[in-house]
């Protein structure tokens, strides 16, 4: 199977986890690799384009920060921060075409943002007014999946359908390192390989599944597991937006060319808590968090763009202002979100008439009426 693994290192710098096969195109100090197969896949990205990626990352980080603040202030019930995973999400999402489709987990705010979710839509679930933020068909992305691993099968099914339709669409399924242990994730790989589904399994290995280190789920590595199922599998530096873009482009191209599924392990780090309800100091050291700060995905791209001169203080201030506007919009849109009427809980449970539930709705309304009369 090892021939299926992508081996382009893309850099001479010492690799993460001693793995010589991790794709990297930007070193932590911001040196860009320009030769090699993967570098070629992103050779079209000039400074302006890179500045676009940089802006995306800064904006989503700012949005994430604002959402965290909104949670602290009681405006959101919960928020799962993406801090540290900006490159993995922006780099991969920017590789997608309009007709592609995404099935993600709950932390992929960056992906949703790139797909076109509004700030209001980013908030709806976490404010507790809906269990889905947006219309999946409008932005080409399913709503956040809470059941770990379940969406990998949905992605595979959708991809099989796209293939049957003769569409050029590819599908990306996002999930975490923890999700690789769930039976569904393995079954998804089986189905994807059997049917040659145009699906990309994109694993953000952020080192932790709540309090459990990745070594508990996959002591011998994640990418190899996928390779064992017969999927072309690659490990990428998930904090390197260029490298992530490159490997995702490759996988999507393969999918669209009818060459079937593939697997990407993006090695990254969850800098913040699992969610705003989590206290990571209970299970990991400050040293570990510090060590990963040195690999910050945003700082890395900034360093490179500073080097080329594309990112000046002025430009950076503009980017920051853009981010600030997004954060302000998030806050405004979030706090403006109305609460749906109670009766709406009966809507859409069924697509077709359902007399038993309608009778319950009648009872609900009678109850509410009687109750209001009493007052």
């Amino acid at each position: 199977m090892s021939s299926l693994l992508a081996h382009d290192t893309g850099t001479g710098s010492p690799p993460d986890r001693g793995d010589p096969r991790t794709v990297r195109l930007l070193t932590p100090d911001g040196v860009r690799q320009t030769s090699g197969e993967y570098a070629a896949r992103v050779a079209d990205l000039d400074d302006a384009a890179l500045l676009g990626l940089y802006t995306d990352m800064v904006v989503i980080r700012r949005i994430d920060q604002e959402a965290t603040a909104l949670q602290r202030q009681g405006e959101l019930a919960l928020w799962p921060p993406l801090l540290g995973q900006e490159a993995a999400q922006i780099g991969s999402a920017r590789a997608l075409e309009h007709d592609d489709f995404v099935f993600s987990s709950y932390r992929e705010h960056g992906v949703a943002w790139v797909r076109g979710a509004t700030t209001a839509e980013l908030c709806r679930v976490w404010r507790g007014i809906a269990v889905a933020g947006w219309d999946p068909y409008r932005i080409g992305m399913a709503t956040p999946q809470v059941i770990i691993g379940a969406q990998t099968l949905h992605a595979t099914g959708y991809a099989i359908g796209a293939k049957y339709d003769g569409a050029a669409s590819a599908v990306v399924s996002y999930f975490g390192d923890g999700a690789t242990s769930e039976g569904d994730t393995s079954e998804a790989m089986v189905f994807a390989v059997t049917y040659g589904a145009p699906v990309v399994f994109f694993c953000q290995n952020n080192q932790w599944a709540i309090s459990e280190p990745v070594g508990l789920q996959a002591p011998t590595g994640i990418a190899a597991r996928a390779a064992g199922f017969g999927l072309p599998s690659v490990t990428v530096d998930g904090n390197d937006v260029l490298a992530v873009l490159a490997v995702t482009r490759e996988a999507l191209e393969r999918a669209r060319a009818g060459e079937g599924p593939s697997f990407i392990e993006a090695v990254t780090y969850r800098m913040g808590p699992h969610t705003t309800a989590d206290d990571p100091t209970r299970y990991r050291t400050a040293d570990e968090v510090e060590a990963w700060k040195a690999k910050d995905p945003v700082a890395r791209l900034a360093a490179y763009l500073r080097g080329t001169g594309a990112l000046t203080d002025d430009v950076d201030a503009e980017v920051a202002a853009t981010a600030q506007r997004a954060a302000a919009a998030l806050r405004a849109d979030c706090t403006a979100l109305g609460e749906p009427d109670g009766e709406s809980i009966f809507d859409d449970v069924y697509a077709e008439p359902h007399p038993v539930l309608e009778a319950q709705r009648t009872r609900f309304l009678a109850y509410r009426e009687g109750f209001e009369e009493e007052r």
Binding site: P136, I147, D165, E187, F191, D347, Y350, H354
Partner: protein
């Protein structure tokens, strides 16, 4: 037009009809292609519609249902076969957390027109895990519809309605009735009433017997036997287990004042519990006796040679009827802990 078909054959014919009518209908399951399913229900369909529309899947039920969710997301209308009742549980999470909730979750943006066909129940001398009756699990799950068919004509019509329904439908096929033959009209509109309507199969005045699927014939036989003793039983095939057709049930029980519910599944928390509760809510002042449950015992399905001690049969139905009439029966005080 009409033809003689077995119940299994009628489902196959109905599926063929549904696939012809709508190119988005596709089937997936284990061994449903070349083999035509272990009960041959899908016999010939892969040959005629090709392997894309009749997909033999890897041996993984969660995979089948999860893949179906994705296909539905893409606009397909998947019909999943679970090979036997006892093998639906690995798919439980996908059914209960995904299939059933997707339409509500997305406020109607995404429909899940998924039909889940499951050969169900015992009475066929089969191996462990091949005779379960899991319908109550699904009837308790909001967002799902649950039905069971008992004769070839219903099977033919209702499988098409199930496939055409924009909601997910659990479609239970009683194994012990697969080979039952009957005349099936294949043209015209589907049988009156549709998939959520109960059917009064025998009119009666003394006791209403409510059942479905594999035990419908048992109930009819019991009614016939009872009539020889001068008792008039009304027999209702519920057809739909979720939603239950309450108007039909209520009308009958208010008339007879007595009801017996018959099913194979364990008694505690079975469909009979909901029927007893719901009937009593609706007919309390018409009832002469508590609703009587004639069901499988609260045990794992027993080995084949002992299944007759577990399954309601004609005599146990009559015992329940006796109980409902306040006559001597096994339902004495001591029979209730």
């Amino acid at each position: 037009m009409s033809a003689t078909m077995t119940l299994g054959g009628a489902i196959g014919a109905g599926l063929r009809q549904a696939m012809t009518a709508d190119p988005k209908v596709l089937l997936l399951g284990e061994d449903i292609g070349k083999l035509g399913g272990v009960y041959r229900v899908t016999d010939g369909l892969q040959r005629d519609f090709g392997p894309q529309r009749v997909m033999d899947t890897p041996l993984a039920e969660s995979g089948i249902l999860g893949t179906a969710v994705g296909l539905a997301y893409r606009g397909y209308r998947p019909v999943c076969e679970i090979q036997f009742d006892g093998f639906v549980y690995p798919a439980f999470d996908q059914i209960v957390s995904q299939v059933s909730r997707m339409h509500a979750r997305t406020k109607g943006a995404v429909t899940m027109p998924i039909t889940i066909r499951i050969p169900v129940g015992g009475g066929i001398g089969s191996a462990e895990h091949h005779s379960d009756s899991p319908e109550a699990y699904f009837a308790h799950t909001p967002g799902l519809r649950v039905m069971s068919v008992a004769d070839p004509q219903s099977a033919y019509s209702l499988i098409q309605e199930a496939v055409a329904c924009d909601d997910p439908v659990l479609f239970f096929e009683p194994k012990r009735r697969y080979h039952l033959k009957g005349e099936v009209a294949t043209d015209g509109a589907p049988a009156a009433g549709g998939m959520s309507r109960a059917r009064v199969l025998r009119h009666g005045t003394d006791v209403t017997v409510l059942t479905f699927g594999g035990l419908v014939q048992v109930a009819l036989d019991a009614a016939e036997a009872a009539s020889e003793e001068g008792l008039s039983l009304e027999v209702i095939d519920l057809v739909s287990l979720s939603p239950i057709d309450w108007p039909a049930v209520t009308e009958s029980v208010r008339r007879t004042g007595r009801a017996v519910v018959v099913h194979e599944a364990a008694q505690t928390g079975g469909i009979g519990a909901e029927l007893a509760a719901g009937i009593t809510e609706r007919c309390f002042f018409h009832l002469e006796h508590a609703v009587v449950r004639v069901t499988g015992w609260d045990i794992p399905y027993p080995p084949a040679k002992l299944e007759r001690h577990h399954l309601p049969d004609l005599d146990r139905v009559l015992d329940g009827v006796d109980a409902a009439l306040g006559r001597p029966s096994s339902y004495g005080e001591q029979a209730f802990a």
